[in-house]
Structure formats: C-alpha cells, structure tokens
Amino acid sequence: MEPTLLRFILRHSLRQQIGVVVLTLVSFPFLYYSLDLPKTIINQAIGGKNLPAAVFGFPVDQVSYLMFLSGVFLILVFVNGGFKYAINVVKGRLGERMLRRFRYELYTRILRFPLFHFRRVSQGELIPMITAEVEPLGGYIGDAIAQPIFQGGTLLTIVAFMFIQDPILGAAAVSLYPIQGYIIPRLQRRVNRLGKERVKAVRKLAEQIGESVSGVQEIRAHDGARWQLARFTHQLGLIYDIRYEIFRRKFFVKFLNNFINQLTPFFFYSIGGYLVIQGSLSFGALVAVLAAYKDLASPWKELLDYYQQKEDNRIKYEQIAEQFQPEGMLDESLMAPDAETLDRIEGDLHASGLTLVEEDGKAVLESVSLQLPIAGLKLAVVGPEGQGKDQLALLLARLVPPSGGQIQIGGRDLLALPTSVVGRRLAYVGPSAYVFSSSLRDNLLFGVTHGPVGQPVDEGEDAALAATRRREAELAGNSPDDLRADWVDKREAGVADAAGLLDRLCRLLERVDLEADVYQLGLRGAVDPRRRPDVAESLLAARRSLRERLASADLAHLVEPFDRGAYNTNATVAENLVFGTPFGTAFDLDRLAEHPYVVSVLDATGLSDTLIDTGRKVAETMVELFADLPPDNPFFDQFSFISADDLPEFQALLARVGRETPSAMKPEDRQRLMSLPFKLINARHRLGLVDEDLQRRIVEARGAFASGLPADLGREIEFFDSERYNVAASLQDNVLFGKLAYGQAQAASRVGLVVTEVLDKLGLRPVVLEVGLDFAVGIGGSRLTQAQRQKLAVARALLRRPDLLILNQAIGALDGAAQGRVLTQVLEETGGRGLIWVLSRPQWAKQFERVIVVKGGRIVEQGSYAELDRPGTALTELIKQD
C-alpha cells in the first residue's frame, strides 16, 4: 500500500486526474470572457463609447449590439455552468472509484492479516476505519489535483483580469493574501493534531461498543452496566473536549479569514473611488473589478477549504494505512485468484525443528520434528492443556507461521504454497469454528466455495448491466468475480450434480450426528410451493396418508383435524374464527379483538355481545381463581388469562359493569372483555364457556369472515384448506393439518413418530432435510447450539475431502456418547486420506493408528497406541489423570 495519499492518488488515478485537469483548463477561457463581457456591455453597449459598426459583418446599432452582447453573456453562463457540471460529475466518479479501491484494498489486507494480529486489533476498530473513516477520502480524491488547479486558476484568472484593468487595484486585492498564507497553515497544524487524536478517540469508542455487544451477557449477569456507562461517558468526554477544541480553532480561522477578506473592499472603495474621481480609472472598470472581486472571494475560500481538507485527508490516510500493514501478513501472491491448484497432495508431512515463540518471548513449541506419510494417516495428538498441542495444529494448518523450523508437505514448503492449495487440500477445524450468518447449506458448502465455476447465464439488459458492473469493478481494482455465478465446486465435493450434492450433504449430516437435528429443523421450516410444486404435492399426500395411518394405529384421537364446517376444540377461539395462518402482522391472533375488520364481522353476525358476555365470565373465573394469590405467583404467567397487574383493573371493571347488558357497556370495557375469550381453548381450559351453540355460531362467523374479506387483507391470511398446501405454515403443520389434542398423554411425541414414519415411507426424508438445510443459523450461528455448530464445522471440512484434515478439539461441546460416535464416523469417512486429531480427551487415542504426546512444547512420545499403552508412559499418565 502506498505510504502517502498523494502517491496512492497518482498511482491509481493519474490518467483520470489529467483528464479532469484538462477539462478544467479548457473551461478557463470561457470563464475569462464571461468576466470581461460585463465591462464591454457597460462601457460600449450601454455607455455608447467605441460602438463597433458591424459584428461578424452584420451592421449593428446600440440596442441590437447590447442585445447581441447580452445574448453572448447568457451563452457563456450556460457554457460555464455546463463545464462545472461536467467537471463535478467526472471528479465525483473518480473519487468514488478511488474510495472503492481503497476500501477493497483495506479489506483484502484484513483477509491477509496474521492471526495473532487479531489479538491486538478489534472488530470495533477495523469496521469504522473501512466504513466511516475513509468515506470523506472519496470526495477529496476527486478534488485532489483538479481543485487547486481549478480554484487557483480561477483565482489567477480573476487576479490577472484585475491587474489588466488596473495594476494598483489588482495589487490591493491580493495584498493581504501573503499574510493569510502565512498565518492559516500555522493555525491549521494544531487542528490537524487534534484531528488525529479525535480519530483515535472515536476508534476507542467503537471498540468499547463492540466489546459491550459481545459481552452483554456478562455485563447483565454481573450488574456491570454502571461501570460500562461510566467508561463510555469518560470516552465521550474525551471526544467532546477534542471536538470542541477543533471547532473553536476552526471557527477562529474562519473569523480571521472573513475579517481579512472584508478589509479588501475597503481598499477598493477608497482607492478605486479616488481613481474614478480623478478620472484615471473608468467607472465601468471599477464596477467590473468589484464584480470580479466578489467572484474572487469564492475561489479563495475554496482554496483555503481545500487546504484544510487536504490536511484532514492526508492524516486520515496515513493513520489508516499504518493500521493495515502489520508484520507477518500473508504474501499477496499466495492469495492470488490464479494461483496454482493441486488435485492431490501425496507423500510425507515432514516437520523439522518447529519452534513457535509468542509475542512475550515465551516458546510454546520447541524443536518439534515429525515425519509421517499423509495417505491414510490417522494421528492422534494428545497432551495437557496449553502445552503446545493447539499451536502444533495451527502450525500444521499454516494458520500461524512458525518462528523457526520448516514444514514440508508432499515435498513442498508449506509456507510457500498458495491458499488455493493449502485451503483446499488441507482442512482445519478448531474448537470454536465460526458459523456464518446464512443458511445451514451455505455454511456446509462454504468449504467448496473458492471461486466461480462457469459464468452466470445472462440475457438482454441483465447481461449489459452485469458487464457494466464488471467493468466498474475492474476500474476500481476490485474483484472481477460475479456473485451470481455458480460458486459451488461440485468436483471437489466429489459429486456430479445437484442431486448428488444433496445426497452427500445428507450423508455427512449423518456422519456428524446432525441429521436428526436438521430433520427437526426441516419439519419446522417452510417450503415455497411455487418453487417446489412437487414437494407441496407430496406433502399433501403425506397429509392424507397421516390421517389413515393415525386411524389404523388407533391414534386418531390425538389429532383434531381442521374442518371448515366444524369447531376445533383444541384451537383457540381466535384460530377458529380466522381459520387460517396469518402471514404478517395485520392479523395478530393475540390482538384480534382490536382489528376493525374482525369487529365488523362479529357485529354483523351478532357475535360481539355473546363474546363480551363470555369475556365477562372468563374475567369472573380468573378473579375467583387468582384473586387470593400473591401477584408474584408463577401461576399468573402460566395459567391466567389476565396478568397479575391487570387483575385489579378487571375486578373494578366487573364491579362497574355489574349485570349490565353488553350493549349498555362503554366501548373500552367492551373491547377489554372481548379480548379475553379469543384465547380460550375448549379442550385445554375446560371452562365450558364455549358451548355448542356458540361453537356453531363461531363456525358461521368463520364463513362470513372469509367471504367478506377485502382483497388487500386477503393476502394476509392463508386459509386452512384440506386440499391446498398452506404457504404460511411449517412443513410439520402442513402434514398434521390439525391441532394436537390436549389432555392426551405424550400426544406430541406419539404423533411425531407417525409423522416421521409417514414422511419416510413416502420418501420425503431428503426433502425435509433439504428444507432443514435452508434454516437460517443466525448471527455467528447463534440459533444453533454450540454442539450443533461444532458438528456443522466438521461436516463442512469433510465435504471437500481434504488430503489432510486437522481437527483441533473440534467436538468438545458434544456429549460423551456423541463424541464417540462422531469420532468413529470421521475416522471412517476420511478413509485413505490423512487425519490429525488433537484430542481433548486422551482415551479416544485408542482408535488411532499413531499417537503423539505433546507436553511442555515438545513431542515427548510417539508411536502406535499399542506401543504407548503400558505403565509409565506419558500417554498412560494422561489417561489416568483424565
């Protein structure tokens, strides 16, 4: 990266800058004429002196000459405006391209940072640098060369004009510039220093925010908010002080400038006026000079602003650039997109004299040497915590460079191999492997997503747009790769097509003990029937099949199916009324009583008063049951329709309305009471309040609700229809198409088994898994458990069949039985390829052919398990301690 901003600008945009400058220079003659013209208009056309007889051969009188000159003036206004516009656009584009390039360059560098650098620099610092801090650079870079030339040129043009009019006036106009030129940079220097401090302080602030976000659990759990707030306040205070100081100084510079600028007209009026009175200066010339001076103020101000901006940006660039060149960065060429690839690494893994010294000078690994054939290698690395086994894994995966020694793999120097070999033929999974915020599938495929495979198929406008995008990306030195291309390298995954890939993913899910979890996620997921009509169709078949299967297994009483003509006693009153799944928030089933359309339907069907009466009974029952309980009793949360806080209010309401008929109640009382019965589930609450008559009437109202639904609200609900796939509901609910019966022991698990059985029988298990693979895992995989994330990471590494897989305590979060299963499966899956496993528990080593014991930064033992499995060895000792 270029050490200074100027060099960065010249290196990457010299040609474009020259273009801007040329455009700027071309505009000057027009500017000059537009300045000169007023004088001619006033002196010749209006004043009538030296009137020419003809223009371009056409005879003119005073009026037509005036009109002609005014017309020329108007054209010049246009031309000047046009130049300004064109120059601004070109400059803006230039600036954006450079900003884009700079950001890309910085991001590339983050990807190349040595891992240990991330111990020193936090996300909170890096993010604002690339996002907010560089933003002003774009605006400046467009101006960097052209602005001083343009404004300086304008200034010179105007000054020259004034000198030509009258040397004394010209001298008067610029007389104070040297003073300004001397004082301003001096004042500016102090502002620059403060600017640097400000940037640092804001980074600290960002770092603290980032830390609070990551550590919010601890802050809450230890009541640390006050300390955090005090720290934050302190930091804000520092920033406040700096900013206050900066703008105080900036405004002072401005004040000084304004004052000096106002001094000049003083000279014009006094000296210029005197000269006109004396007759040695024409009145027209003085007016023109005054007009020119007015124009002079603007470029001068721009120049000063430019100077301030230049200083700001120079500092910013240097400060950022300095942060992005840590020692030990991965060499650029190793990450080049066209670097060599290998189909297979064969031969030995040969490490000699490996040493790793931490920053504090402590050696965590010392002269470690080993030589093992890669093919079929099954090596267990065991050892006490924190004595080098971790670091050995990181070194062998080339994630950390050794401080000394060599690693050769297949006869090649590991450190000199490009990432396109190391990151494809080797794989590493650490204890807290990161899961990206996308779907499970994308995370699994991440391991075979290295570069685009083939080009995206574009047609017509899309192709043109894509071409423009690519050209722009190249102009800014960005990645030319198209995101919409197919990036999944199926060959590396060892499959031929999409179906094969899905098979393989399902197989790997089994291997890492994740299949059942993904299956459950799939059941809770949704399918878009427009995209997968076949799947929707099969699920409808599963729905019918489930019904039969439940009947034949004598389990039909565990599910109450949806039936448009019948009340579902296991659903709430609200669900029975709407009889569908709401898409968005328009119909919130918890607040149905407030929805105007619902109220209108209930009024029209005469249900309102009945429901309000029912609500009154619910309220009475709740008051009777819960009034004596203390408000903090957990029963309120679990069972009551009315929260402990609201209970007194309802008591008062009941007392107020007494035995009044619902129609006599106040509207707000009606609404409060009406909201209660909507949550009633007959089979669960057994209050006997929704009797058969009311059930019949609700089913009738259900019909009215559906038939009268306005078109715009129609899109908010997917009605239950036994012959249609419900887009808004989960896969499981679609198959179930009903409600689990309350009060039936283990209904959910018994029905769940039948659902699984039916889906398996119809061959839908892969489909469910496929839907499960679409599950969005959340930020950092937060919607998965730690164990699920670890399994996912192992599967991700297995997918691409690396020649050497290095697992570093990668499944520690799994329970013991699952660890054993996954270990066996992974050993089997890697087959003839190499596997090095740093084990968290030494007894697992029994399943490996070779074992090395790392202790105190050295290999203290190596050999087959059988050789080491005898009294007195370090391995036996470790197993005993575990």
């Binding site: 049951l625 957990p634 069972f639 609450h685 057994r686 006997g688 309350y742 009060g743 022991a745």
Partner: protein, 154 residues
C-alpha cells in the same frame, strides 16, 4: 369433562374433601388433565419424577422391577378412581420407585411437583391427608413384612 365436574370429583376424594371448592377449582384449572390409552405408561421405575397423578377415571397398575419374573416386573397394586400415584418421587426427590401403567382408558389429573408442594404448604388439610395415606401404606407394608417373616397370614 368440564372443570366443574372435575371439582365435584375432587371433592369426593378424601384427600381433598375438606378443601374449599374455589381452591379445588384452582387446582383443577392449573393441572393438566391427561388421558392414557390402555397399557400406556404413566411413568417408569427409575425415571426422574416431576409430577404426581390423580386418577379421575379408570384403573392403573403399579408394578416394580423384578428381573426374575417372566415379564420383568411384578404388580404390587391396582388403584382406581380417587387414588394418587407418583407422589413419593416428588416428595422425596428420588427416581420413580415403581412403574405405573394404565389398565384401560384412564384419565388422570397431572399435578406438577411445584403445584403439589404449594398445595401441601398452603393447605394443611391436604398435608395431613397425604400423611395419613402414607401412614396407611406404611402400616400395610409392615403387615406384609410381618407376614413374610412369620410365614403365616394375618
């Protein structure tokens, strides 16, 4: 069966006979009514205990593991309507001491551990009734033990 009927039923059970109806209503409302199919297990010996069951309708069979028996367990009692089962595990915080199986279609009221303790602490009558019931069982066990020792029936 509605809540009101459940309350009437609870009232007819000695354990709850002396408790005012509104409290019984709360008990019924906050407990889950759970129906079991014939031969379905309520719980199995050795499982952690989280609830007691009050038999509302039907009959349950209580058996303990006995590896020597042909079915692997021997039935020690049959209990019907009004009986409470599973209270030992939640009172003493031990795993289930027996397996309970529904003999026919059986309906129970599942009283969670939390609710059970609340009932006992809030209503001394229930505590006394539970004690009485447990004492009866102990007495019965002692009797059986004596019979087994002396080898002659009572």
């Amino acid at each position: 069966m509605s809540l009101a009927e459940e309350v009437a039923l609870l009232k007819s059970i000695p354990l709850f006979a002396k408790i005012e109806p509104s409290k019984l209503k709360l008990l019924a409302f906050t407990s889950e009514r759970l129906a079991f199919d014939p031969d379905q297990e309520l719980f199995r010996q050795g499982d952690p205990g989280d609830a007691a069951y009050l038999v509302i309708d039907g009959e349950v069979s209580i058996s303990i593991d006995a590896p020597a028996a042909p079915t692997g367990r021997i039935e020690v009692a049959k209990l019907g309507r009004g009986a409470i089962v599973g209270e030992i595990a939640i009172l003493c915080d031990v795993p289930r001491t027996a397996t309970v199986i529904a003999r026919g279609k059986t309906v129970t009221l599942r009283i969670s551990k939390e609710l059970f303790f609340r009932l006992i602490t809030e209503f001394p009558q229930i505590a006394v009734e539970v004690m009485r019931e447990l004492a009866h069982r102990l007495e019965k066990t002692n009797l059986q033990l004596r019979e087994a020792r002396t080898g002659k029936p009572h």
